[in-house]
Each structure stands twice: as C-alpha cells, then as structure tokens.
Symmetry: C3
Subunit: 316 residues, 3 copies
Amino acid sequence: MKHFFSISDVDNLQGIVAEAIDLKKNIAQFSELGKGKTIGLIFFNSSLRTRLSTQKAALNFGMSVIVMNVGSDGWKLEMEDGAIMNGDAAEHIKDAARVMGAYCDIIAVRSFAELKNRDKDYAEDVLKSFMKYAGVPVINLESSTLHPLQSLADLITIEEYKKVKRPKVVLTWAPHPKALPQAVPNSFAQWMKNADVDFVIACPKGYELAPEFMEGVALTHNQDEAFEGADFIYAKNWSSYQMYGQIVSTDLAWTVSAEKMALTNNAKFMHCLPVRRNVVVTDEVLDADYSIIIPEAKNRVTSAQVVLKRILTAMQ
Amino acid sequence: MKHFFSISDVDNLQGIVAEAIDLKKNIAQFSELGKGKTIGLIFFNSSLRTRLSTQKAALNFGMSVIVMNVGSDGWKLEMEDGAIMNGDAAEHIKDAARVMGAYCDIIAVRSFAELKNRDKDYAEDVLKSFMKYAGVPVINLESSTLHPLQSLADLITIEEYKKVKRPKVVLTWAPHPKALPQAVPNSFAQWMKNADVDFVIACPKGYELAPEFMEGVALTHNQDEAFEGADFIYAKNWSSYQMYGQIVSTDLAWTVSAEKMALTNNAKFMHCLPVRRNVVVTDEVLDADYSIIIPEAKNRVTSAQVVLKRILTAMQ
Amino acid sequence: MKHFFSISDVDNLQGIVAEAIDLKKNIAQFSELGKGKTIGLIFFNSSLRTRLSTQKAALNFGMSVIVMNVGSDGWKLEMEDGAIMNGDAAEHIKDAARVMGAYCDIIAVRSFAELKNRDKDYAEDVLKSFMKYAGVPVINLESSTLHPLQSLADLITIEEYKKVKRPKVVLTWAPHPKALPQAVPNSFAQWMKNADVDFVIACPKGYELAPEFMEGVALTHNQDEAFEGADFIYAKNWSSYQMYGQIVSTDLAWTVSAEKMALTNNAKFMHCLPVRRNVVVTDEVLDADYSIIIPEAKNRVTSAQVVLKRILTAMQ
C-alpha cells in the first residue's frame, strides 16, 4: 500500500478485514515494525478518536509520533496554484507538504470540508496536494469527502458482530443542529457497496449522497421500512449534497429510538462518534446492550494498525 | 491503587511519602515498569508544571504519553445525564471517557472549577464521570475542588525539609487579582490534617474553606499570630467558598513579606506556583534561601511517579 | 557546547559544518546518545519546520520530547524584574524557566520579536532569562534577533552545493505584506561573515540591519548588481531596523524572478521558508532545478542534530 486515501487503495477488502482482526491478536509481534520511523499527524481540524487511535496504533509499532495542529501551532496554508500570496496564508501547501514529508516517514492528514463550495470540497485539494508533494505515504484521517479509517473500522466491527453471512446494513440519516460534512456517509457507502452485505441508505428527500456514492445503492425515504429486518443500524447526520452544505431537514421523527430499533432483526446500533445524544439517537439506544459504539471506536486502533502495517511493509 | 482522585485513595500516608522519597533515588530500576502502556493526559485547562511533570514521570517508567487539550484540540463536552444535545457540546462526557479509556491504559484529567455554581463544582462531575466510564485508572491532575498530586508533592517536600519531628505548617491566604479555585487549599488541608504536623489556616474572614476541609483544623484570621513559631509557610490565594467564587478581600497586608517571615521559626516558604510576584509574596521572600518553591516543584515529578508506580503495579 | 544561543557558542565554524555533514551519514550510530534524556520544546510562537525538525533530531538520539505551546497550553509570562504582577501575566519567566529546567535535561525556546520596542527586542530577555534561570542547556529556536539553527542549516547547505571554494552569497531583501522580524537576516549575516564566502547584502534604503550585523559586510541598494556573479541567492523579507518594525518598502521590483536569477553565475536559490509565493519570489524560481529550498529545509534536522550532539556530549 502506497497511500491510504480511499477504498481504491485496498486491493482485497475481505483480505484487509481478516488481516486486521488477526493483527489485533498478534500486535505484540510487530512492536518493532516501525522502529526508527516517524509519523506526522497533521490536523487542520479538531479530533479526539482519530488523534488518539492513530497515535496508539503507531506507538504499537514502535514508531515516533509528531503531532501538528495547523492553525493553532502553525499558520494558514495557501491551496491555490499560482496564487500571489499577499493575503492571510503564510505558506503554500506544496511547500508545507514537501517539508513535512522531508521530516516524517509517513504523513497522516485531517482536513474537513468547508461546506461552502461543493466543487472545491470534492476536488480534495488538501489530501491530493499532500499525496502529490510530500514524497512519502499519506494517510487520510478524514478529508473533505471521505473517512476511510472509520469505514474500515466499521467493516471490521460488522464482521466481528454479524450473525448471518450476509447481514442487512442500514445507513440512516438522523437530525443534528449543525451542518456536517458528507465524508462519513460517503465513505461508509463506498465500503459497504463493496462488502458482502445488503446495504440500504435511508434519508429524507434532499439528502441523497453524491451520484458516485449512491450508484448501485438501495435508497429509501422511509426509515421504518429500511429498519425492517436490519442486522446493523448505522446512524449519522450529514448536510445536503444537492443544496450543498445546507440543513434541509431537522425532522426529529428521524431520531433513532428504541421503538425504531424494535422494527429490526435485533440489530446492533453503530455510530462513528461524537454523537449528539437525544437528537441523533436516544440515550436508551446508545446505552442498550445492542449498542456497539465502543467496540466500534476501539476498532479505530485496529483499522489504523492494519493500514500502518501495510504501508510500513511496503516501505521495507 | 485503582484511581488517584483524592487522599482517600492512599491507605498509608507515611508509607507513600517514604516510598516516593525512596523511588527518587531508584527510579532507574523502574524504567520498564510501564513499557507498552499508554497514559492519556486530558487537559480541559492550561497547565505547565502538571503537563511537564506528569509526562516526565510517565516517561521515566517507559510509558507512551498522549496529550489531548480538550477545547483547542477537540470540542466541548456535555456533562448532564439525559441532556438533549442540540447546543454547543458535540459529545457527552460518558462517551468521550469510554473512548479515551478504550485507547489508553491510564487516563489523567485536569478540569478546573468554573466558580459559577458551587454545588456543580463540588459535585466533581468531570472526574467522577471519567472514573465511572473510562474503565481504566484515572488520575486527578487538579479537579474542581482537589489537587492531590500537588498536596502529595508538598508533603514529600515538608518531609525532606523538616527539622523537627512534628513541624508547624501554616497555610496562609494571600491576595491575587483574579478569582481562583479552592482546589489547592482544600487538598492541602486534607493532606495536612492527616499528616504528622501542627496545621493552621490563616485567612481573612469570609475565606474559610468548605466545612469538610475546615473540620478539625485550627483557624485564625490573624496572619501574624499564625506565623509565630511556624516551620513552613504555605501561601496561596483562593476565592471565597461562602460568597462562592467571589473576591472578598484584596488586602495587601496579607502579602507574604520578609518582615512576616521574620516572625516564624526560620520557616521555609512554599507555594505551588504559578505565583504572582509582589502580590501574593514579595520577590525578597521568593528569592531567599528559605524559599523551597523549586524543590517543591521538582517533587511534582516525585509525587506523579509514586502514584503511577502504585497504579501500574496494581494493574499487573 | 553549553548553550546554543548564537554563533558565539560555536568555537570552530568549519568544524561544526564538517561534523554535521558527517553526522547525517552516521546518525544511526548515535541512536542511544540521548537515551533517558528529555528535551522540552517551548513555543511562544507558531512553528512548523522548527517544531518538526527539532523533534526529529531529538528522536534520532533516542530522547524524549515534551512540547509546550505557551499561550495556548499555558499562560502569559512576566518578563520584568521586580514587577508587581497584578496584570495579565500569571507567572514570572524566572520561575517558569527554573521549573522547566527542573523537569527537562535540555530546553529549546522560540520567542519572536514583538517589533514594538527595539531596545526590548534586542535585549533578548526571554532567551537570556532561560539561560540564566533554567539551570540546563538552552537552545535558540528563533529568538527576537537571531535564528542560529536556520543559519547553521543554511551554511551546511551552501557547503554541500557550492562549486567553487569561496562562493559569492547574496542575501537579498524581498517584499512581503507583513512586518517581519530581523532574526533570520541578522543571523545569516553573522554566520556568513565568519564563513569562507564572499557575502553581500542587497536591500532598499532603510533596510540596513543593525550595525553589529552590517559591520564588515558589503552592502548595495542595487539588487541587479548584487546578483551578478552570485553562486547563491538567499531571499528574505524583514522589517526596518532604523524605522523599527516598519514596512518601508513594498517595491515588487525586488521580488526574485527568473530574469533576476539569469543575472547570476547559475546561482542556487535559497529561502528559509515559509515563503510567500509570487510576492517574495516567483513560482518559476521556487520550482526551478536551481531552487534548493527543500534540501535546505531538510538540513534543519542536520543542524539541530549536530547542536544536540555537542550539547549531549558536553553533559556526559
């Protein structure tokens, strides 16, 4: 594996999930795999799970970790090629990326969508610039439109908790007071489409994902219908792709409740966290036995581990 | 030792002080004690001594350290059970704590009093939530009402510098331009009451600590009287408990000066730092030979070390 | 080497450059040199290259690294001796420095000029206080008036890329939208004066550096003339020393362009970064083969390494 930007960097989905689960048990064997190597974690945005789990995964391989909060620790970066840089940005991303790549063996980057300009967000300039200029492997810690370490962790969790060979997995939109990026649902759709699951997206009208992510996916605007027979309910809010970055609905009828969960086939409940309790989903669901949000969060270490292992191995 | 939240987590005060002093000399023997283990330092507030000394102590045991500044690195946490989270807070503390506990072997947390609602501060919701939900040992890096790593460091320092078996120790209030929490004086009182010292608190009227901390403690509103015969002067500002969070006095007559120190039995001067020079205490005192503020600060590594040692040993 | 504050801490310029280049090849031999030792990196200002390269260099020696962002992680420090601290500053630098020195084996500090009071900036109070009070070796990560780790990296880079025994090196002022400190040009001048190069400074009138740095240095206000026969062009903006901290010129005729570079003896182009593209220097120059900004940035690890090696060796 050279970079880990999206599912396209994984040749065999079944293989990486199996390897990840295996690695969990045998991580102690690899405590020297990254020895003498440094990973730079570059955050353009806040992070808790990603920050801690990626560090933990790197430390498990004996790597050194350097964390850089761009903005608070550094300065604003220019993204545009050919810009006359007489404004706020003190450094061009191409220079920053080349320098970070010169100091680190692997670079991992978080950079959220701004939700102002759809074309700009979907161009994925920040991550693509890092991949183009850093000269070292780049890991996506959630970009404008994708969050593959989350999706891989989700798939690992589904593999661990599924009771049937081909479970029904429902991604349901849920209400939220703020406009959020589409990275998690986009990525989840991309991975589920390619996994051995029956995948359905339930959302209000106007919340369909970008065509490239909806293609070939079952869609319904009826949440109850989607929940019937489901083995996994994956709740998440996102803002509209069509009315880009807008909140089109705040309908609390979409909040995931115990009554809704009762429609399913004893489904497990999943969410990537952080979660707005009693808005996205009720306390009753989050704190129920069928809620697997904590094992899911723990698998963020697992997904980071298997990705780092593949990258470190390819570097040898 | 499971958690280190307060003095109640220490079964034998003499024992832990002796162990701490012994550990200072033999720390090299324990350089592998925490190998493969990760401590997460979670800061809801600024920190210098605590940040550096706790990291240093953990590194001395070969542990990995992950530092997280909530607020600047992360987001606002919801504290209330059952809250409908449609406001500022992006994550409930119970979820954040469970996730942090999933990634770290030990969690250490700093969370100051807000000084707005006394009951809320004294309920110690943040630390108690971490202890309830994290699923791993939790260390108090200064909570709303307690700062036990400081008090333990103070007691170690007194043990090292005392010239008589049972020294007279005076905690004196001193003026300060800002309203400060009661954590340091509360904790100091709690530890001194249980130590082999004659303990006196001197403060202006209206600055008495909460009843649970004053109980059984000699109190005077006459600073000069308190200083007579003292072996240790411990200066600190705090805001009022009665008029909760208010500045009731700014009387500069309470500033600790060389003239005041002359009333004592050649007392050593102590302060937990940071200290407002020439407001809380004069330069002359802070820079005198009898000022032991730097050895006291160094003992913050010592107290963190012995606490980590006990927790790591209990985990084995 | 005790401290690394300026060129004065280096006894033999040729020697340290040779040692640095040699160390690059043999760094693996020294992976245990700093084992068990902790370096504290104290940032009063933003940093990318310095933050990452100094960490990388320390990690290469097996050191532990503690990073502290004063301001965001801590609080404002009082600089004035004898101050009555009833204002914003919560701690005096002399106490903070003594405490940091108590926890770390080496302290490295970044503290920029404020560009308000020339005498204050040129007094170098912050770095001098750390050297006076910390009680451990102190490394300058860019102070008000000097940036010696950058200058050493620059000299190493010149040594590696020069084609003649005594190359002509031109430091040229270039326009910039913000008022910048004089630390980089001051320091560069100081190191070049003492190196085996023909050194020229080109700047508009009013941009002459402080007398101590200009002394013995060839000066011209004609950029084209300076470029003739040059082997290295080192571009940098700085604010005026005479009209202290002011922007005296924004003349874009001083922007370094390919046409200007054509006047030279096939000169290499250098800049310490971050650089404002198409203001300080054009994209065409920065992206040309003769641009050595990335090897120059990489040598920030090299210069930090040789300095740390000398300090660590002196501590043994």
